[in-house]
């Protein structure tokens, strides 16, 4: 029975999703049940994490077909960590959605689809089969299409068309890459592929396949030349939806890149060079893009792109220290980016707009809320000892010891530009004297809300802020965790042996 624990997070999300589908018209029940289920899933994910932490990588063969013939589910430390983070962000966003998403939108199955999205995320993190990864990706994107279009406003639909097209294209490229990979090796199990790819003589073909994967996952992760769908769509849906998208969807792309390029296409100097160039350009272009934006959600969208660069840089340098830095940044980024989009939702409810020109004076009027919102903003910048600071040390250290000074320069540049942007945002939104904005009738201003409703806005932000603070102040724990993950990723023989059951 203990082996099955890997699949419990998936079972729970399916069960929640199905039960919520049955209760299609009962919005009140859906809210309560979704929050309750999310709490349960945090518990389960915590249990899974503890189990993996104490007893190492675990695997289960779905349908009892031996690997590499059946579909394998694998939980190593990276997967377990990401499942835990998904559950935590899922809980926060579930509470936030219950408070912030309008009833007209909840009517169209918001909560069931939200849980199917979480199911897809968990599945993508836990699977050990490349085609199964494709299927989970499709579950993720179909759910995300529904979430991004719910409501059907003009900007939303236009954003959705762009989001939709580019994500379909990414899936098609991913599928093409799988086809080529299957043609090359005749296998789909990632651990099995690791061995078979290494034996292939025709390295050019392997590199091309790697590049196809890089493009497919790169579109999803939002790396340099492929990110244009992201700032065109992430500011259009409801705030809760942007929160889960910003926190987790691009990170699935990063996870897939981490997995594929540490397990299947290992140590190819050409691919590593491409990754480095992409990382540098992503860091620079995302940062510069964020500088000129006025809508705070667009600023955060560009910052997502900018900070994806850190993780890609860590992957490109391909040393244990660098991978540890990338993983640490991934952990920090999921929590902080989810929190930032919820923060923009709080700001929107406080003043009724998201435009930095019109905002202002929040600190004078709501000092305590401002202090709460200060934490995620400056965690993102990484002012020591807040959480964004520590992974960069790893990355910069790896950059210096590997002699890639341009990357180090780009990382430092991106950190400074983030500081500038967040400082500007803080000044414009919180410190500047507020203008009197035209009062909007029928708008749910924060000041008009009842206490429990306010709590639904602030509690998730507070929860994630506390976790951010923990990542910052308890950095030695996270550092230990990411070092262990990096060790597992770099010495992938353990993973392969566990999946293929070679370890007797």
């Amino acid at each position: 029975m203990t082996q099955q624990i890997i699949l419990y997070p998936l079972f729970l999300q399916i069960a929640i999703g199905v039960i919520l589908l049955f209760a299609w018209y009962r919005i009140g029940f859906q809210k309560i049940f979704s929050i309750f289920g999310s709490i349960l899933s945090v518990g389960l994910a915590g249990w899974l994490f503890y189990y993996i932490w104490t007893s190492g990588t675990q695997t289960i063969q779905a349908g009892n077909w031996e690997a590499p013939f059946g579909i394998t589910f694998v939980a190593d430390t990276l997967s377990a960590t990401l499942v835990l983070l998904t559950a935590i962000s899922g809980l926060a966003v579930s509470v936030f959605s219950a408070g912030s998403v309008l009833r007209d939108r909840l009517r169209f199955g918001y909560f069931p689809i939200f849980h199917f999205l979480l199911l897809g995320l968990n599945g993508a993190f836990l699977t050990g089969d490349i085609f199964n990864l494709y299927v989970w990706f499709e579950i993720i994107i179909i759910s995300s299409f529904v979430l991004i279009t719910i409501g059907g406003e003009k900007a939303q639909l236009e954003g959705a068309v762009k989001y939709f097209t580019l994500n379909i294209l990414a899936s098609m490229i991913f599928l093409t890459a799988i086809a080529v990979l299957y043609g090359l090796t005749g296998s789909l199990n990632m651990a099995d592929l690791a061995g078979k790819i290494a034996e292939i003589e025709n390295r050019g073909l392997v590199e091309i396949t790697g590049i196809l994967f890089l493009i497919g996952f790169g579109i999803k992760a939002g790396v340099f030349p492929l990110y244009f769908w992201l700032p065109a769509s992430y500011h259009t849906p409801p705030f809760a939806v942007s929160a889960i998208f910003g926190g987790l969807l691009t990170k699935v792309g990063v996870y897939a890149l981490l997995r594929v390029f540490t397990l299947i296409f290992v140590g190819d100097p050409f691919l590593d060079k491409i990754l480095m160039v992409i990382a540098i350009l992503t860091l620079v272009s995302g940062g510069i893009g964020a500088l000129v934006q006025n809508n705070i959600r667009k600023v955060f969208s560009y910052l997502i792109i900018c900070h994806i660069g850190y993780m890609i840089a860590g992957l490109g340098m391909f040393t244990e220290v660098a991978i540890a830095g990338a993983v640490f940044y991934l952990i920090h980024d999921i929590i902080v980016k989810t929190n930032l989009f919820m923060l923009s939702g709080v700001v929107y409810r406080l003043k009724g707009t998201n435009s930095m020109r019109d905002l202002g004076g929040i600190y004078a009027k709501w000092p305590r809320i401002s202090l709460l919102l200060f934490i995620p903003l400056f965690s993102l910048v990484g002012i020591p000892p807040l959480s964004g600071f520590w992974p960069k040390i790893n990355l910069i250290k790896a950059g210096f010891s590997g002699g890639s000074y341009i990357t180090v320069g780009a990382i430092i540049f991106a950190s400074f530009i983030t500081l500038v942007i967040i400082a500007k945002l803080w000044a414009e939104v919180f410190w500047k004297d507020g203008k009197e904005l035209p009062f909007r009738k029928n708008f749910g201003y924060f000041s008009k809300m009842k206490t429990y409703k306010r709590l639904q806005f602030l509690a998730p932000v507070a929860l994630l802020s506390i976790i951010s603070l923990y990542i910052g102040f308890g950095a030695e724990h996270i550092q230990e965790l990411s070092a262990r993950i990096a060790d597992e990723l770099m010495n992938n023989q353990g993973y392969i042996d566990t999946v293929l059951n070679l370890k007797k």
Partner: protein, 117 residues
């Protein structure tokens, strides 16, 4: 057979990408459909085309006695077809909604998301 299929896949990919690059929303959907079909055929093609029997071992045998067709690509294609069925029907509904709300078929007109607000 192989060479014909290879050309066919190439044409489907090219036509799909070309259609996706047009400005019309309807052509965008046609492009997605063509590209999906091309990808499915590619899986089929790269799984090696064999004139073989179905991969079912008789009850009294342990191994295959004759050439057999690889079942995995077929399973993959079936999955991919089901997925693309869902995606394409969603695409049609989305495009229809977008057309009624934005009142245009031209992708270049869809720039409300780039407005500075």
């Amino acid at each position: 057979m192989e060479i014909l299929l290879a050309i066919m896949i190439g044409v489907l990919y090219a036509a799909g990408i070309y259609m996706m690059l047009r400005r019309s929303l309807v052509k965008l959907i046609i492009g997605i459909i063509l590209l999906g079909n091309g990808a499915n055929l590619l899986i089929f093609f790269l799984g090696r085309i064999t004139k073989g029997a179905p991969p079912i071992i008789p009850g009294d045998a342990k191994v295959f006695s004759e050439a057999f067709a690889d079942p995995v690509p077929q399973a993959l294609i079936l999955t991919a077809i089901v997925i693309s069925f869902g995606l394409q029907s969603f695409a049609i509904v989305l495009v229809k909604r977008a057309h009624t709300v934005v009142r245009t078929d031209d992708l270049d007109e869809m720039n409300a998301t780039d407005e500075d607000s």
